[in-house]
């Protein structure tokens, strides 16, 4: 029943390879099966949207891809590295090096400046001070916030905050950028700006994975993966978009 079209993407440089991924949550005595067997491959440089109604397992899938959580069952490789059974510390390192997160509610640290927010992953990654400085300035410039570096998140608009978050996600030059409803808290103009920024990044060769139920956003992604009840119900596949 699964579209096997994504096998095509499994050629050179698969960033994500999922095979029979299941995730079961046990809350008390109730078992909730959030994902019931996901096979998904995302190739280098792809721009995919994951869509689906709420409760379809989008967030769970994002947590697994982002190594915030580990699957109950199945095989997951991130850039060829199997994630199952790794320690929390190893997972933290993988998140730091390989994944850039962008959230609906930005999740910037409120008491520090835009500059320091972008610097945070570099600090965790042990990047030396001078390289950190160069990298942060470069990134903030790229998202158009060179003049807002010392501003606290509360002094920025929603669109600006999300752009800081994009810069932060790119800081460690990750293998994949994971965006969870990135335009959900933005007005349509700022949302459009963020989308344009994403397209720009994609054109520069970034692998982008956007979770959304905004049809306009999903439309702009070349590949759409639809989730329903913890399974992939439709996948336009690579090149199908």
């Amino acid at each position: 029943m699964m579209s096997k079209g994504d096998q095509a993407a499994a050629g050179n440089g698969a960033v994500i390879r999922m095979d029979g991924i299941r995730k079961v949550y046990e809350t008390g005595k109730v078992k909730v099966e959030a994902l019931r067997g996901i096979d998904l491959t995302v190739a280098d440089g792809e721009f995919a949207a994951i869509v689906g109604p709420s409760g379809s397992g989008k967030s769970t899938l994002m947590n697994l891809i982002g190594c915030l959580d580990t699957p109950t069952d199945g095989l997951y490789e991130l850039r060829g590295q199997r994630v199952a059974g790794l320690s929390r510390a190893r997972l933290a390192t993988i998140r730091n090096r390989r994944v850039g997160f962008i959230f609906q509610n930005f999740n910037l640290l409120p008491q520090i400046s835009a500059y320091e927010n972008v610097e945070m992953p570099l600090l965790f990654g042990g990047v030396p001070r001078r390289r950190r400085r160069e990298r942060v300035c470069d990134l903030l410039e790229r998202v158009g916030l060179a003049d807002r570096m010392e501003h606290k998140p509360t002094e920025l608009s929603g669109g600006q905050m999300q752009r800081v978050a994009v810069a932060r996600a790119l800081a460690m030059d990750p293998d994949i950028v994971l965006a969870d409803e990135p335009t959900g808290n933005l007005d349509s103009r700022s949302g459009g700006d963020i989308m344009s920024l994403f397209e720009e990044l994609w054109e520069q060769g970034r692998t982008m994975l956007v979770i959304t139920h905004d049809p306009a956003l999903a439309e702009r992604a070349p590949r759409r993966v639809e989730l329903l009840d913890g399974r992939i119900s439709q996948d336009t596949g690579v090149g199908a978009g």
Binding site: S59, N63, G66, L68, D69, R88, A89, A92, T93, R95, N96, R97, F101, F103, Q104, N105, N107, L108, L109, P110, Q111, I112, E116, M120, P121, L123, F124, G125, G126, R168, M172, D180
Partner: protein
């Protein structure tokens, strides 16, 4: 790469914003706790010093033996015979018992008339060996002296006065060099005892009696029976053995079993001193526990504020973890923050208590009964180290438990929607 204390410090500076009021209250609670702990311990220290000083008024590490009665038959002699050592036994003990700091005989006359001009005072007269002054802490006030060997050899009629007795007889006049009558025999005053604290006695306070050479005493009162023998070994730990050796020395002369505890009465101040030390330790522990509990309450306050901080920053902690922070990098700053509050409060408390103790040091001691009894609170390095140690442990615990909760935060759960 793994521990990275530098990173933890950096995160601490960046993210630990102080909520002034709450932090202030917490720091105040810790300050109050350390203040109570330090003051209680300092009070205990002062009490111990003062009681120790008062205890040493009688003399330190000495034993007093007095005549008794046999309770066992010995070599054909029945029980119930009195044992009353004589002055000659002192020389015998000096010869036969090695490693003694000194041994002194003590003779007593309970109601002696001391007369100067038309003033007569009834008091105690003691005849004692020369070493008695050092054994029993009889130090002469400036301008006078204790008895000396020539006094004893020539059976001089010289007298050393307790300071209260001296005041009764001479008022404000200087007694040294003056003559007074002891049971109608003239004596020259050679010294007056310097004031001292004395918390234990046998037969009365030293300030009320007068001491004359033991051979003079013998000659005037026509007896050679001792009221007491005072001994001090070189090594206080040897006291029990020295006492046994004294018994063995006297046993053949008076016909008693050396193991007969009642043949000679004994007061061993080394033993009672040990009990006193244990009691003081108990008091110190008790005060320390009370102070420590007060401090613990402050520590719980710090832990509480840190729990609140963790709860408030759950999302931030989740974000940091998502960005690749390891649990230790997130919890380190929290432990540091708890420790900072605690040590800051401790420092304030320590400074305040030091100030208070210095202030109390300014209160005059003279005629202050409370201070004479209880002593002044005293700071010692031990107190400072104890307090610092307790503060450190409480501070670490107050940070550790909230930090442990923070480390269990699941970033996946905190990141999505509020």
């Amino acid at each position: 790469m793994n521990l990275r204390p530098g990173l933890v410090l950096q995160l601490f500076w960046r993210t630990s914003r102080v909520q002034r009021k709450r932090a202030l209250l917490t720091v105040a609670a810790i300050a109050w706790g350390s203040l109570s702990l330090v003051l209680l311990l300092a009070f205990g220290e002062g009490l111990g010093t003062q009681l120790g000083r008062a205890n040493s008024g009688l003399g330190t590490n000495i034993a007093i033996m007095w005549p008794g009665e046999t309770t066992r038959p010995w070599k054909g002699l029945p029980a119930g015979r009195p044992v009353r050592p004589r002055t000659a036994d002192i020389r015998l003990i000096e010869e036969r018992v090695p490693d003694l700091f000194g041994v002194s005989g003590e003779m007593r006359q309970w109601r002696t008339a001391f007369t100067r001009g038309d003033v007569t005072v009834n008091g105690r007269l003691t005849g004692a060996s020369l070493v008695y002054g050092r054994l029993r802490n009889h130090v002469a006030r400036a301008g006078g002296r204790f008895l000396n060997p020539i006094d004893d050899a020539r059976r001089r009629r010289v007298i050393f006065l307790g300071y209260d007795l001296a005041e009764d007889l001479f008022g404000q006049d200087e007694p040294v060099g003056e003559t007074l009558l002891v049971d109608n025999v003239p004596y020259t005053v050679v010294g007056v005892m310097a004031e001292k604290l004395q918390s234990s006695t046998y037969g009365g306070m030293d300030k009320d009696h007068a001491v004359i050479p033991i051979r003079t005493f013998e000659a005037q009162y026509g007896t050679d029976r001792l009221a007491n023998i005072v001994i001090k070994p070189l090594d206080p730990a040897e006291m029990k053995r020295k006492l046994a050796e004294v018994r063995e020395t006297l046993s053949p002369r008076y016909g008693f079993d050396p193991d007969d505890e009642r043949a000679l009465g004994v007061w061993d101040t080394v033993e009672t001193g040990q009990m006193f030390a244990n009691m003081m330790l108990g008091i110190q522990l008790f005060l320390g526990i009370i102070g420590g509990l007060t401090l613990l309450v402050g520590g719980i306050g710090v832990a509480n504020i840190m729990y609140a901080v963790v709860k408030e920053r759950t999302r931030e902690i989740g974000v940091k973890m998502a960005l690749g922070a390891r649990a230790g990098w997130v919890t380190g700053p929290i432990v540091l923050e708890g420790l900072t509050y605690t040590l800051l409060g401790g420092l304030v408390g320590l400074l305040m208590s030091t100030g208070l103790i210095l202030l109390m040091g300014l209160v005059p001691v003279e005629d202050n009964v409370a201070i004479e009894m209880l002593g002044k609170p005293t700071l010692s390095p031990a107190i400072t180290f104890t307090t610092a140690g307790i503060l450190g442990v409480i501070g670490l615990a107050a940070g550790y438990f909230p930090a442990r909760r923070a480390s269990r935060i699941d970033p996946a759960q905190t990141l999505r929607y509020e």
